[in-house]
């Protein structure tokens, strides 16, 4: 593995991890912008813009874009989160130049009014699709509740109201402020040709004009509310809990990952043994979400409505117990081995390495080879894990419940 990076004069950064034995390569344009960077009136514009980026450029129609990706047999798509918008393509090595040219070109979209109107309908359908997915709804409402006035509370998709009201001019303004080369990192992994890559990106992007792209970083003050929202259409009781956790920049992030695994991995975790194995809850999981300057520990439970209180009480008791004792040595070892083995498995695939290398750079301006990442993980001690639980007050959570029950 070989790491390379360079920066164009306009501020665009290119980073690459070369794996000569790979059969394919993956390239991603990581734009440091998402729902948290939107004003409330244009909420959802980041994600809508992500769709519009595939709708053509000065020299390509929307159908040209799709057809050219498919002509390469590319595995391609994009995703938008609270903090990032990422466009990517995995292709065979012979298509490197074409893939870079196409991705770079679509990052300067035409944003035609006619396409804007058609695509608005697609976004409204996507919002409707997630209306039928309770797990997603719990997550979205829990984020809104937890973050309160903080911009991380804004839903990535926006709402049917904000999307319906959005005008093309507002999207164009947002694009000009956020898609500055200073705010974009080009990430490549797998069987790449580095010199050629740097040249191809320079050819395609050197003329992009830089502007200052700011991100507001207000302090996070968790709401701590406990809200039960009745939804009579649902069969099962869905409960989400969220507490603070280390940020993406924190040295405690490895310990936080171990903490989440020990508490709520799908196998062999505290919540698995306390809730899933005895079938009190059908699902009980804890995950760690690291963000820019902050982080969250998210717990999800799904149970029979009649057993929701029991499941919740048990989960809370497990957290309280953990806070006094920390993990056992066996739990610590198992959690680290599971995380390491998952990283190794993902690391064998260009599409598995792309987000790891990309986010490392976007959040920390650093590159950590997989082996070093595993060394850092393995160095985590039981005290480190307990320290995260204590520092971030594991038992202080915001709750959002959705289902047949309207109260605990």
């Amino acid at each position: 593995m070989d790491f390379k990076h360079t920066q164009l004069d306009n501020g665009l950064t290119i980073v690459a991890e070369h794996a000569p034995a790979a059969e394919s390569l993956a390239v991603g344009f990581f734009v440091r912008t998402g729902a948290r960077d939107e004003t409330p009136e244009v909420n959802g514009v980041s994600h809508f813009l992500e769709h519009m980026v595939f709708k053509g450029t000065a020299r390509r129609s929307p159908l040209d874009v799709n057809r050219e990706f498919d002509d390469m047999g590319a595995n391609y798509n994009a995703f938008t989160s609270e903090e990032n918008t990422v466009y990517y393509a995995q292709v065979l090595p012979e298509f490197q130049a074409r893939a870079v040219d196409l991705l770079a070109d679509i990052l300067r979209p035409a944003l035609r009014e006619e396409d804007f109107t058609t695509e608005k309908n697609v976004i409204l359908e996507e919002i409707a699709l997630y209306e039928d997915r309770p797990h997603f709804k719990v997550f979205e409402r829990l984020m809104a509740e937890f973050f309160g006035p903080h911009p991380l509370s804004q839903p990535v998709l926006g709402t049917a109201q904000t999307i319906s009201a959005l005008r093309r001019g507002q999207m164009l303004d947002y694009f000009r402020q956020r898609y500055s080369p200073t705010n974009i990192t080009v990430v490549a992994v797998g069987n790449i040709a580095w010199e050629a890559l740097a040249e191809q990106v320079s050819q395609a992007c050197a003329h992009w004009e830089p502007v200052q792209a700011h991100r507001l970083m207000p302090a996070v003050e968790p709401a701590g509310t406990q809200r039960w929202v009745r939804d009579a259409k649902l069969n099962r009781q869905h409960i989400g809990l969220m507490g603070l956790a280390p940020s993406a920049q924190s040295p405690q992030r490895y310990a936080a990952q171990v903490l989440a695994t020990v508490l709520g991995d799908s196998t062999g975790s505290r919540l698995y043994y306390a809730l899933v194995e005895p079938a009190i809850a059908e699902e009980a999981s804890v995950s760690y979400d690291s963000m820019d300057g902050t982080g969250g520990l998210l717990t999800f439970l799904i149970s029979d409505p009649a057993r929701a209180n029991e499941a919740l009480a048990i989960a809370r008791r497990e957290f309280a117990t953990f806070l006094t004792q920390g993990p056992t040595e066996a739990e610590l070892t198992a959690a680290k081995n599971k995380i390491a083995s998952a990283s190794v498995l993902r690391g064998e695939l260009p599409m598995g390495r792309l987000p790891a290398v990309g986010m490392d750079w976007v959040y920390r301006r650093s590159y950590t080879p997989l082996a070093e990442q595993i060394d850092e993980l393995m160095a985590v001690t039981a005290e480190d894990v307990l320290a995260v639980a204590r520092d971030y007050r594991l038992t202080d959570t915001t709750l959002l419940a959705l289902g047949p029950n309207d109260k605990p």
Partner: protein, 414 residues
């Protein structure tokens, strides 16, 4: 692509399959036993799913917790799953831990404790999953469609029915396990980094003495078919359709996979272009080929709000019918590149490859090297596609729809 395929038969009927890949450090393993949902006792649909959960609740010298902890300590990402024909136990880990994982899987397959006290929670998890289906409308229609489309019981839902689950007892399920957990017709497959001689030795030692009844036969009845609508207060109408397709191994198989790409592969495919890109009718629309032994279908899915649902159905069906009018310029070549490229890129995953081994063996009784598939795709001509369309036109639709409004489905009639 760098790969080496291996096949070895144990005397007791268990088949060992291997796909050795250069440049990886992981090994994926899959133990597939002929205990899938289509072998569930008629009165007790859901038996295989409960059994798959129960199997991991203690085996050999380990109780439930020790078993789980042992696999976790090895960094093994394991799972159990029930499909039409097989009950599968799978795991992925670094290659150094393969033997230790195989030792545990050998216990799970041959010496599960199936203890009285762990039965009820195993059944209750299956019951909860089944009841949760109402909160997942897209999953619900796709499961319903499979049940109706395939000859009974090949597409039967592994989740079973509430009545079937209620009928189960520890004794009945132990008896079922005795009939279906057998090396005959079973597969042990590995993909990634390993030495096959070593795997054969380990398998001989760990599974060689296993004796079991012959693989149970499945008696099939004609597919139910038809168009089924379920009224539900969902935000979107769920539309799921299927029509017959050539099974794997059929002379029209590869041309049909080309057609599948033209209709539903990538974002330039016809369905995505006509339904989403040009008309903005949906977020999700797609088509995929799927099969069991001897039968296959083209499965099409779209989800959309009630006002747009009729048009979505009509445009979708029109695209299926329009396939019969032949290909447009560039479509054949693009589809072939997409198929070959996906083959290589998905082939980088040990987990995907081990699944491919089991599928090939079950559907064809042999393994296809990746270069053979690539050559077969390359060889597909426009004439082959025309012949395939003549033999397998998009007709005889089975459909499952769910949502607040019922649609006019006369367009689905032949």
């Amino acid at each position: 692509m760098a790969e080496e395929l291996f096949v070895h038969q144990l005397d007791n009927g268990l088949t060992l399959l291997g796909d050795r890949m250069a440049h990886v450090v992981s090994t994926a393993v899959n133990v597939a036993l002929p205990a899938g949902a289509s072998l569930d006792p008629q009165a007790r649909p859901g038996a295989a799913t409960v059994l798959s959960e129960w199997l991991f609740r203690g085996a050999g010298d380990r109780d439930s917790r020790q078993l789980n902890d042992a696999l976790d300590a090895l960094g093994c990402h394991f799972d159990q799953g029930v499909r039409s024909h097989f009950l599968q136990i799978s795991g992925s880990q670094v290659h150094q831990n393969l033997l230790a994982v195989l030792e545990i899987f050998a216990d799970v397959a041959q010496r599960p404790r199936l203890a009285e006290e762990t039965f009820e929670p195993s059944r209750d998890l299956a019951r909860q999953d089944l009841e949760g289906l109402d909160d997942e409308p897209s999953r619900k229609v796709n499961i319903d469609l499979r049940e109706r489309f395939y000859p009974w019981p090949l597409g039967i839902s592994p989740l079973g029915t509430l009545e079937g689950l209620a009928e189960l007892s520890p004794d009945a399920l132990r008896a079922h396990a005795g009939r279906t957990l057998t090396p005959h017709g079973g597969i042990l497959a590995v993909a990634g980094r390993f030495e096959f001689d070593e795997v054969c030795d380990w398998a001989e030692r760990l599974f060689g003495a296993w004796q079991g009844p012959p693989a149970p036969a499945i008696e099939t009845a004609p597919a139910q078919g038809g168009i089924h609508f379920q009224q539900r207060p969902t935000a979107q109408v769920q539309i799921a359709l299927a029509c017959p397709a050539p099974p794997t191994g059929d002379e029209h198989y590869y041309p049909f996979r080309v057609l599948e790409m033209i209709l539903g592969g990538g974002m330039s495919c016809r369905l995505f272009t006509e339904v989403r890109e040009k008309r903005g009718l949906v977020y999700a629309v797609g088509a995929r080929y799927q099969g069991v032994r001897g039968h296959a279908g083209l499965f099409v899915y779209a989800g959309t709000t009630p006002e747009k649902a009729q048009q979505t159905l009509d445009v979708t069906v029109n695209e299926l019918r329009r396939l019969g009018e032949g290909l447009e310029a560039g479509e054949l070549e693009r589809a072939k590149i997409q198929l070959k490229s996906a083959l290589i890129m998905q082939g980088e995953s040990t987990g995907a490859r081990v699944g491919g081994l089991v599928n090939d063996w079950y559907l064809l009784g042999r393994l296809r090297p990746l270069h053979e598939i690539a050559a077969a795709v390359d060889a597909v001509s426009a004439d082959d596609v025309a012949a395939c369309l003549a033999a397998w036109p998009a007709r005889q639709f089975t459909a499952s729809l769910l949502g607040p409004v019922e649609l006019n489905t006369t367009g689905l009639s032949d």
